[in-house]
């Protein structure tokens, strides 16, 4: 890109998803992250039980993210060519895993409210 900048990138993403959907997704991502920080601060500790359950969800997040991207882009795993492809795919999987884990952690925390660990 000739003039690569953040505003260009945002413009491209707006075109890709539609401005409304794009900013809605940004808002959801921010909300989940804030909720996570909120429960961490509220509980003043990382709950290891919730953390464990969240960890168990990670492979599902990874697989779901990879599957989603393959489906959206008319691709299959056979198309993965060079190292950069593996890195991108791994990145997708990791982000899917972390994203789902945070979501699961937050949902548990918010549903059960503040609890003391057994």
């Amino acid at each position: 890109m000739e003039e690569f900048s953040l505003s260009t990138m945002i413009a491209v993403f707006e075109e890709m998803f539609g401005a409304w959907l794009f900013w809605a997704m940004v808002a959801v991502a921010v909300a989940i992250t804030l909720a996570w920080i909120y429960v961490l601060v509220r509980d003043r500790a990382l709950s290891f039980r919730k953390y464990l359950v969240a960890q168990l969800s990670m492979p599902f997040g990874a697989v779901a993210a990879v599957w989603f991207v393959m489906w959206i882009t008319n691709s299959t795993l056979a198309d993965i060519g060079g190292p950069i492809d593996w890195i991108v795919l791994l990145g997708v999987a990791v982000l899917g895993a972390i994203g789902l884990a945070i979501l699961v952690y937050v949902v548990q925390s918010l549903m059960r409210g503040r609890q003391s660990e057994a």
């Binding site: 945002i10 491209v12 991502a29 991207v69 060519g81 994203g99």
Partner: protein, 439 residues
């Protein structure tokens, strides 16, 4: 196009990124160029990729200018999408939007074509007889497809019935072309591909549709009964030597026959034969499927205007602009953007993207009483699809140098999934952002 595809990988990937980026955005907002006040009358011919985009940019930069854009077509075509449509990966509607959707508020859109252009007296006359005087003219009419130059060919023949594909002709023809390719890759036979001897838009596109056809036949399990023949117009498969060698290697690997210096001149749809002009005289071959890409030229109104080169491309009529500033050599108040430019390389939307800041700079600078400094180096890019799911992101300049946007990360001559993502996901979004003057 060069940017974001790494980040398009997952929703979460970009959500995180964008969220983080927002903080940055807040701090780095006001880098916009200053607006220039003027009463200049600017006429833009053509509201396609180049015309719509420069209209938006000039509206942003100029205060009080009287900007008129002339284009009789109410549909805007996202032409890079034609390849995906012709391979059955997208419907025709994927490539269609409204011309008016992309034009800035405050512009005067004359919904007629230009019929006459006189650069001596600075006047454009439209097909409806409107007379438009200008101080500056931007020519972005694109090119015309000379179907009549292929004897025996007619657009009404496109489709599975005759086994004829002509995806350059438009979104609907691209979709009908897919039905022809679909049937060929079901039933088998000989498939002919190739390109014209004139300059053309997206010189990689005839190769892409050939590779895609071969891949689709393979996926269907019908490769054994399909022959693929690629007819190059020159003694090479691609004008840039290093890319030629790579394409040849892939064609060898995939058992695609290639022939050099074969230029399609006639077809007989009844007998299913095609005649090619070659250095050794005409040859006639049978086909069951043929993809026709015709010779390409400047629109007649431009060729009649005196803007064309007098001694180069005389059968094609591209306009005589400086290859670095894109300013007309004889009429300094005329600029060219896009396919119409008589420069050695760059009839792609990706090149348009690099033409835009150059023309904007020279035009706005002149109005502000300065001299422009930006130069176009011939940058052209073409995500050369090699199969569904893989492509090579080839980018090059006037010197035939490869100019990778991500050196060391995305190898230009390697078949990669990420390069496919560029074409499949990122290209249209980037193109649209470009039309709005934002990329």
């Amino acid at each position: 196009m060069r940017d974001i595809s790494k980040l398009t990988a997952s929703r979460r990937a970009f959500m995180g990124l964008a969220a983080g980026g927002l903080a940055l955005a807040a701090g780095s907002g006001a880098a916009k160029a200053q607006r220039v006040s003027t009463r200049a009358r600017i006429v833009i011919l053509g509201a396609g990729a180049g015309g719509a985009a420069i209209a938006n940019r000039l509206m942003d930069r100029l205060d009080g200018a009287e900007i008129t854009i002339v284009d009789g077509r109410s549909e805007h075509w996202y032409q890079p999408g034609f390849t995906l449509v012709a391979a059955g990966l997208r419907p025709a509607s994927y490539a269609v939007s409204g011309t008016g959707d992309w034009l800035p508020r405050g512009i005067n859109w004359v919904q007629e074509h230009a019929a006459e252009l006189d650069p001596e007296s600075n006047v454009v006359t439209t097909t409806g007889g409107q007379r438009l005087e200008y101080d500056y003219l931007i020519v972005s009419t694109g090119l015309v497809l000379d179907w009549d130059a292929i004897e025996g060919f007619d657009l009404s023949l496109v489709g599975p019935e005759h086994g004829i594909s002509a995806h350059y002709a438009g979104p609907d023809y691209a979709e009908t072309s897919w039905r022809a390719l679909d049937r060929f890759t079901d039933e088998g036979g000989v498939g002919m591909f190739g390109r014209p001897a004139t300059e053309m838009k997206c010189a990689g596109a005839p190769v892409k549709i050939c590779f895609l056809g071969e891949d689709i036949a393979t996926t269907k399990g019908n490769r054994g009964k399909c022959d693929f023949v690629y007819n190059a117009q020159a003694p090479n498969l691609f004008g840039v030597p290093v890319i030629h060698h790579r394409v040849r290697q892939i064609m060898d690997e995939r058992d695609i026959t290639y022939r050099y210096s074969h230029v399609l001149k006639a077809i007989d749809p009844g007998a299913k034969t095609a005649t090619y002009a070659t250095p050794d005289g005409d040859v006639t071959d049978n086909w069951d499927f043929i993809n026709v890409v015709p010779p390409q030229r400047a629109p007649q109104v431009i060729r009649d205007s005196g803007l064309s080169w007098a001694d180069r491309w005389t059968d094609q009529g591209w306009i005589e602009v400086d290859m670095q500033t894109l300013r007309h050599a004889r009429y300094p108040n005329v600029f060219g953007i896009g396919d119409i430019n008589g420069v050695p390389k760059g009839k792609t939307a990706a090149s348009v993207k690099f033409h835009l800041p150059v023309v904007e700079d020279h035009l706005v600078s002149e109005i502000a009483g300065r001299e422009g400094t930006r130069m176009y180096d011939g940058y052209t890019s073409c995500p050369l699809i090699t199969r569904v799911g893989r492509a090579m992101l080839v980018e090059f300049d006037y010197q035939d140098n490869l100019t990778p946007s991500f050196p060391g990360i995305i190898a230009p001559l390697e078949e990669l999934w990420i390069s496919w993502l560029m074409k499949e996901v990122a290209l249209k979004a980037t193109y649209n952002a470009m039309l709005r003057g934002r990329a």
